[in-house]
Symmetry: C2
Subunit: 335 residues, 2 copies
DNA sequence: TTGAAAGCGCTACCAA
DNA sequence: TTGGTAGCGCTTTCAA
């Protein structure tokens, strides 16, 4: 059986309170008493039981990290950053992957609440509105990351998707591209919607005729072949554009695969641009032009904000929009 | 203040035990009593407190997942698989990243023990021998993943690094490559050591003279530039080999970067092979030849084994070695 | 069919 | 400088 504080107390010939106090250094204890207690702890291989402690002090030093899609490298990076920073604050992180499923999201959030976590980092599916609002009403510290939900009063860390998309599109247009299609998935997510709107507004600004560009909707396929098939059917009787500007992170590589399979020269015939980041892009061909999200930085900031709330009770709802960078490898297009 | 079971009991006009029993369905309760209780639960937004529950029942339905390096995509995959599978069993996972630091590893393990987790999945730094042995003596379910530690009696899920390396080397030799260098880091890890030995044994078997190949030791640099610099100094006054067979996962892309920067044609002048997996390899140039580890499968199996121990008290120490696949894009070498 | 109460391991208040 | 003890919220045995 595992040793408890009582065992330690008995062995050291002191009371449990004394043991507790030497462990937590929360009041003065005589030198030799301290030593006796410490010896007993060693002898018994005593490990404090955090459940009991947390139950008492109402704090678990644990946060929940709920992301929407671990198949997306984007979120893996976020997780890494969050774990890293949380650890610096002395917090553990419980990892939850909703896989874009609102039901799973709800289930996970509920579980986390029951586990009495001290705060939540959430990349929401953007669906459980009332449930999440209830959580916020509880005053449990929560910060949104990567995606926000309209009219939810809490912190948010992300990027300005609208401007990023709009600016990148303009840059692309400046390079002479005129026929640009935008594949996307999950428009219900605000950032995706922002990207689409930014794209369209830029086209409008440049007076590009509507028929020059198409939006292509994708389901949130888990399977790469399905995604590729969707591309194939879409472009069956339609000419390929000069550029595919991919608005859904997981679609980008599928787009490359589709073009590659079809023997299309990237970027000469059809170029590919997207959102997210692509490590070592420069060393491999074709180069993808990417609107790079500072994912790691996002994770750091999100935890910082969360800790402000948990540890210092900050109430203010901050929105942090990090700048993106358009890593552009597109050749000029001469028409 | 949050509602407790007591509040629910009072509101429903029953005792706490009844409330407990309707929640857990652990003994018969009258239809209308049940309803009254459920209504009270709804009204009060009652959420059971898992800390108290866990303290009582001595089970947290939570496992710890301790990996050695989240900067390594390899482990990100593992984590994804573990979280996924653990969730299927109704368990949460606490994510811990030791970053190859034994001190951090020890700290994390200790924390997990204190949190009373039900089991541990560990990709060890292979350093805290006595500490980990103590844990095993406790009989706490633990399974090693990806890396094993000699003489530790517990489950292990990984691949047969020695044979994988040896077989791949032979295949490479069969293709006509003769001058092959092997960069590596962290030889203290058994899988890395196995790779090196497999490589050397294959060379010996084929009677390749010693001076034809070099082992290049790397520190476990976090910084890509440092890694590249190491390559540069090493090959300053030495000819490049026909192939770099990279034994350290994180080194592979750095090797490509180094060669690319130097203007070397991959794979014609110097080819690159490595261990791990590289998504979408086929769509990008240069193609890397990889001994592919079934990372996701590893995660699944590890959790399965862990659950066998946690839920069914299995004691047997199983070792699962998954097969690797050599995805080889190497051109034949004519000498 | 239900309730009372002990106790999980710990913290912290009140006394001494 | 230390100890006794109530109580955190829950489960479960025993009794009714």
């Amino acid at each position: 059986m595992k040793a408890t504080m009582k065992d330690v107390a008995r062995r050291a010939g002191v009371s449990v309170s004394t043991v507790s106090h030497v462990i937590n250094q929360t009041r003065f204890v005589n030198g030799d008493t301290t030593e006796r207690v410490q010896k007993a702890i060693k002898d018994l291989h005593y490990q404090p039981n955090d459940l009991a402690r947390s139950l008492r002090v109402r704090s678990t030093k644990t946060i929940g990290m709920v992301v929407a899609d671990l198949n997306n490298d984007h979120f893996l990076e976020i997780i890494r950053a969050c774990e890293n920073n949380a650890n610096r604050y002395g917090y553990n992180t419980i990892l939850c992957n909703t896989q874009e499923d609102p039901k799973k999201e709800k289930m996970y959030l509920q579980l986390l609440l029951q586990k009495q976590i001290d705060g939540i980092i959430l990349a929401p599916t953007c669906q459980n509105r009332s449930f999440i609002r209830n959580i916020l009403d509880t005053n449990l510290p929560l910060v949104f990351i990567d995606r926000y939900m309209k009219d939810m009063e809490t912190c948010y860390v992300g990027v300005d998707s609208y401007s990023s998309s709009r600016d990148a599109t303009k840059r692309i247009l400046d390079l002479g591209y005129r026929r640009i299609d935008m594949p996307y998935a999950l428009r219900s997510l605000w950032p995706v919607d922002d990207r689409i709107r930014g794209f369209q507004d830029a086209l409008r600004e440049y007076g590009i005729p509507e028929e020059n560009s198409a939006l292509i909707e994708f389901e949130d396929y888990e399977d790469k072949t399905q995604t590729v098939e969707r591309f194939e059917t879409f472009y069956k009787d339609r000419p390929l554009p000069e550029l595919l500007f991919v608005a859904g992170n997981k679609l980008t590589l599928a787009a490359v695969h589709f073009l590659h399979k079809r023997g299309v020269d990237i970027p000469e015939e059809t170029a590919v641009a997207g959102f997210g980041s692509f490590k070592w892009n420069e060393d491999f061909t074709p180069h993808l032009s990417m609107v790079e999200t500072p994912v790691f930085e996002m994770g750091l900031q999100a935890v910082d904000l969360l800790m402000e709330r948990i540890e210092m009770g900050v109430q203010e709802n901050k929105t942090v929009l990090l700048p993106t960078k358009f890593a552009c490898y597109l050749p000029e297009k001469k028409n």
